[in-house]
């Protein structure tokens, strides 16, 4: 899922400093699961922003709503009435949600309350880690199910580099060396010989460098 983290409240407050009434829109998708933009966080943020403004003697009115998902137009439609009389919309979704709201209500000031960080999963309660680089050309079958594109800090496909020591990456003792993990796993699987094959340069045209990507399923398209 997408992992996002709320921006510091001062930064969010600064983006809506001129507003008297704002709509805060949470998302019941990924950001609810990673506890950064669900219903609860939306209410807490609204309340925090009001308190901040009250302390400044500058009243702020807030309206809150949590969409099922902000990345589907049908769930954005429901904001129609709420958006009308607010000065700005604060989206607590990932960057997709912010853009969907901005596109749908193009005369509204829409601001992001979150920093969209990565695609990952939880490794412990309250801990999320990046697992996928969204490169559009999965090679996990060659690397023992561990992604070197995103988990190796140099994205080496023929690793490990010379900075790998004691199982850790040179950039931090808190970061596992992806190639140590790959090596250990391939060794356990009896497939070390696979790592001796020279992996060719990656086709990045399937990644962001090919421009914004589109996925089409004609079988489910209507009309």
């Amino acid at each position: 899922m997408i992992i996002a983290q709320q921006k510091p409240i001062k930064d969010i407050a600064a983006m809506i400093a001129d507003c008297k009434k704002v709509l805060l829109v949470g998302c019941a998708g990924c950001v609810t699961v990673c506890l950064s933009g669900g219903e609860k966080e939306t209410e807490v943020l609204a309340s925090s922003l009001r308190i901040m403004r009250r302390l400044q003697g500058n009243h702020l009115e807030t309206v809150t709503y949590t969409a099922t998902r902000q990345c589907d137009p049908e769930y954005i439609e429901a904001l129609e009435n709420l958006v009308k009389d607010v000065d700005a919309v604060v989206s607590l979704a990932c960057g997709v949600g912010v853009q969907y709201i901005a596109e749908r209500f193009h005369d509204k000031w829409v601001v992001p309350a979150q920093n969209t960080m990565f695609v990952g999963g939880s490794t412990a309660h309250g801990v999320w880690e990046e697992r996928c680089g969204l490169c559009g050309d999965c090679i996990l079958h060659r690397t023992g199910g561990i992604c070197p594109i995103i988990r190796c800090s140099k994205s080496i496909l023929n690793g490990p580099c010379g900075g790998s020591q004691y199982g850790k990456c040179e950039i931090s003792k808190d970061v596992d060396c992806a190639w140590q993990l790959i090596y250990d796993r391939m060794k356990a699987l009896g497939k070390l010989d696979k790592l001796l094959e020279i992996q060719p340069p990656k086709d990045w045209s399937k990644s962001r460098d090919g421009g914004p990507r589109k996925a089409i399923r004609e079988d489910v398209m209507i009309g």
Binding site: K154, I156, N158, Q165, E170
Partner: protein
């Protein structure tokens, strides 16, 4: 394949090669590079020019190489994958060759986190092994990385790579070296060696696989100025092993700098007797002026001449 590299001629004819390293400055004057080039030119066979080492912005490796050439010394241009995509790499290397550079060392490059631009966007479009492979293919099959033919004047670099016997997983280090040789590396320069025992084990594994017969291995050495420098390498630099006795020896020394030079000379004399090592690569980080003495006292002076 024969190239116009003097370093290749020396190595291929069985000489024990000596290379050193010059770190370009953090400014726009070639004065220091030229000073070091003049100082080293009779003592080493070629000099590496680092490519923004530790991700610190420095005068470009290729521009420095031209100054070195002008001083009558053969440069080895280092090319990292950190800062350039495959378009920039090819363009820069065509340019380097056109300027007379004949030796190329392919590296992934230190992560930008350690440098003076830690918020830079890194590239790592291709990795060092892919770079080696693609440069060899460019030279031998006359193809750009894309596969498009190079109609004429393909760059014919003598291609090198690095190996670090002190990084992990240790058992995979020799396999990775072999992978680099398989990709097309013709000479290898190693990380600075302080843990001689581990290096000996590494070389044993290299010989078992016959890799030393397929590639020229130059062992890396670094003269240390103080016990603090040794301690720093021991504790703060990833992929380095510095045994305690080296730290202690420098600590006890009356003149640590002299002791650092002595240790380095002892290491070179030892390394010369390790089967499969074809040369030594002296990385006197910001201490280039001691290289002539080290070369001379290690019994490696004068350097052989080749046509």
């Amino acid at each position: 394949m024969k190239t116009e590299s003097k370093l290749q001629k020396l190595l291929d004819s069985g000489h024990f090669a000596v290379t050193a390293e010059i770190g370009p400055p953090k400014h726009a004057s070639a004065h220091g590079i030229r000073h070091h080039a003049h100082m080293l030119k009779d003592y080493v066979d070629a000099t590496n020019i680092t490519d923004c080492q530790t991700a610190i912005v420095r005068l470009s490796s290729i521009a420095s190489a031209v100054h070195i050439l002008d001083c009558g010394l053969e440069p080895i241009v280092q090319m990292t994958c950190r800062d350039r995509n495959r378009i920039a790499i090819q363009s820069d290397l065509l340019g380097a060759y056109s300027l007379g550079v004949r030796n190329l060392l392919c590296l992934s490059g230190d992560h930008q986190k350690f440098g003076n631009e830690p918020s830079a966007k890194n590239v790592y479009d291709i990795d060092s092994i892919q770079l080696i492979y693609l440069m060899r293919r460019m030279r031998e099959e006359k193809l750009f990385f894309s596969g498009e033919p190079i109609k004429e004047h393909e760059p014919r670099f003598f291609i090198g790579a690095v190996a670090n016997p002190f990084a992990d997983p240790f058992e995979f280090r020799v396999a990775r070296l072999e992978k680099k040789v398989e990709a097309g590396a013709e000479f290898i320069q190693t990380q600075c060696i302080f843990d001689m025992e581990r290096f000996e084990r590494f070389m044993e594994m290299v010989r078992e696989r016959g890799i030393h017969e397929r590639v020229h291995i130059l062992a890396g050495v670094t003269p240390l100025k103080s016990w603090r420098a040794a301690k720093y390498l021991q504790t703060s630099v990833s992929g380095m092993i510095v045994p305690d006795d080296i730290v202690e020896r420098l600590k006890k020394a009356e003149d640590p700098k002299r002791e650092g030079i002595e240790i380095c000379i002892e290491q070179i004399k030892h390394i010369r007797n390790i089967p499969g090592v074809h040369g030594v690569h002296i990385m006197a980080i910001a201490w280039e002026e001691v290289v002539p003495e080290i070369v001379e006292r290690s019994g490696l002076f004068p350097r052989p001449k080749v046509e």
